[in-house]
Structure formats: C-alpha cells, structure tokens
C-alpha cells in the first residue's frame, strides 16, 4: 500500500520541482500577479503592466534571499 501511494507522490514531487523549483514564492508571486490582473481586468482596467512589475520585483527578492 505504501509503495502504491509513494509513486504518485514521487510523480507529483518531480513535476513540482520541474515547474516550481526551489523557491515557491516566485510561483506564488506570479499567481498573485495574474489574479490581480484578472480582478483589474474585470473592473475595466487594462493592467498589462502588473505582471512585468511583479516579475522584476520577485526576481530581485528571490536573488537577494538565495
């Protein structure tokens, strides 16, 4: 049973490491940026600038913490 459960866990872990990597805050910041853009777009604001600003900021923070 343990082996049956360990395969999906290992599979999920591989994809998590492959996509997200060793700093989950970068992925979280991207999610927040996209959610914010969606909320602003629903209110009629074309917030195309939000994601690039968050990308530059989170990259700096992540590098600083590394």
């Amino acid at each position: 049973m343990g082996r049956l459960l360990s395969w999906p866990v290992a599979f999920g872990r591989f994809w998590y490491r492959f996509i997200v990597g060793d700093d989950w805050t970068v992925a979280a910041a991207v999610a927040v940026g996209l959610a914010g853009t969606a909320v602003l777009a629903a209110r009629g604001v074309q917030a195309w600038w939000l994601v690039p600003v968050i990308v530059v900021a989170v990259l700096g923070v992540s590098l600083r913490r590394a």
Binding site: D23, L34, T37, A41, L59, L63
Partner: protein
C-alpha cells in the same frame, strides 16, 4: 543533453549510449504527441493563460539561476573533470550504465525542450511548426556536437540558461496576460518591450549579484 550523450559515448562506448539516447527520444516523441493532442482540445485563451503562467514560472527559474551563474562564473563553459569520467565498458551485451545515463540525460533535459516546444506551439496555435523547429534544432545541435566535440564543452551554459530564461519569461508574461483578455499596448510588439525590460533587469541583477559576491571592488 548533447554534452551528456557525447561524454558518456566517448567514455563508455557508443552502442549502448546511442540505444539509450534513442529510447529517450522515443519517450520524448510520445510525450510531445500526447500533450500536443490534449492541448489542441482546449480553448485558446484558457490555453494561453495556463501555458503562459507555467512558462513564466518555469522561465523565472532559469532566469534566476542564469543571473546567479553568470554573476558567479562569468562565461565559463561546461567543466568536465577527469574524476567525473566513467570507465569504458568492455563486457558483452548492453552497457546498462551508458544506457541509463544517456536515457536519463535525453529524457530529463529533453523534457524541458519538449515542454517549451509544446507550450510555444500550442499558444501560437502552430504545434506542427513548433515540433518541426524543435526537431530541427535537435538535429543541428546533435550534428554540431559530434563534429565539434571539444568546442561543445566550452559553450557558456550559464549565459545560454540566462538567455533562454529571459525568452521564456517574456513569452510567458505576454501569453498569460493575453489569456486573461487584457490587451497589450502595440499588440505583438509588446513582446519586444518585455524582452528589453527583462534584458535590462538581467544586466542590473547580474551586476548587483557580482557586487554581492565579490564586494565593491571585483579586482581586489
């Protein structure tokens, strides 16, 4: 990927290495075909949002690692030390060490290429063209790698990683935001603006990281 296959082939022998690499390419082809067919069934705006977001997160990993590596090592090539080299296989049958090393190298490194090819192809609604481009790039890299084995190890991998990271982050940002129904100023021309912004960001952060690593005076 080319460096791993060349390194294993040159040290352990070519037959098992090429069988392993071939098996790896077969797995990659199946992955691209299955994911490609699945992605074609999804509406384009939702696809751009999901693929763009994935590309952005994935690209930022490379961007970050690229900045750190270029700052730390400059433009040094891939270093292969004598201790890393495996012993040549002289037994009968398949050399499983060479097979597994080549297979893993092709599948794991190739998965990143397959991910990029499928993402770009699906987001632009041109999966066939992207697949042809990806296969073409593999053939060119493979032929170049075999022809210029000693030069391959001198390729500044850190810089390549940074450049690919910047490109993935650029297209990821563009498609994810477009997938939300937001219009970019200048349409597709915004890609060039994003590219310029992220290039500038890379230059600034690399300089900052170098200063942090070596202090205020790099020559000291």
């Amino acid at each position: 990927m080319a460096t791993i296959v060349l390194g294993v082939g040159a040290t352990r022998g070519w037959r098992s290495t090429l069988v392993g690499a071939g098996a790896g390419f077969l797995v990659l082809a199946v992955v691209v075909a299955v994911f490609g067919l699945a992605l074609n069934a999804i509406p384009i705006s939702a696809l751009r949002l999901v693929v763009g977001a994935l590309l952005l997160v994935f690209g930022l990993q490379w961007f970050r690692k690229g900045v750190r590596r270029v700052a730390a090592r400059g433009l040094a090539g891939i270093q292969v030390t004598r201790e890393d080299e495996a012993v040549e296989w002289t037994g009968e049958g398949l050399d499983w060490t060479a097979f597994v090393l080549a297979f893993k190298g092709v599948v794991l490194e190739g998965l990143e290429v397959a991910f990029i090819v499928v993402s770009f192809g699906a987001s632009a609604n041109q999966l066939g063209v992207a697949a042809i481009g990806g296969v073409g790039a593999l053939v060119v890299i493979g032929v170049t790698g075999v022809a210029l084995q000693s030069l391959v190890t001198r390729i500044p991998r850190s810089l390549l990683q940074l450049v690919v990271g910047i490109l993935l982050t650029t297209f990821g940002s563009f498609w994810a935001v477009e997938g939300l129904g937001v219009e970019w100023p200048a349409g597709d021309g915004a890609i060039l603006g994003l590219l310029a912004l992220y290039l500038l960001t890379a230059l600034v952060y690399t300089a900052v990281e170098r200063r942090r690593a070596f202090g205020f005076s790099p020559g000291r």
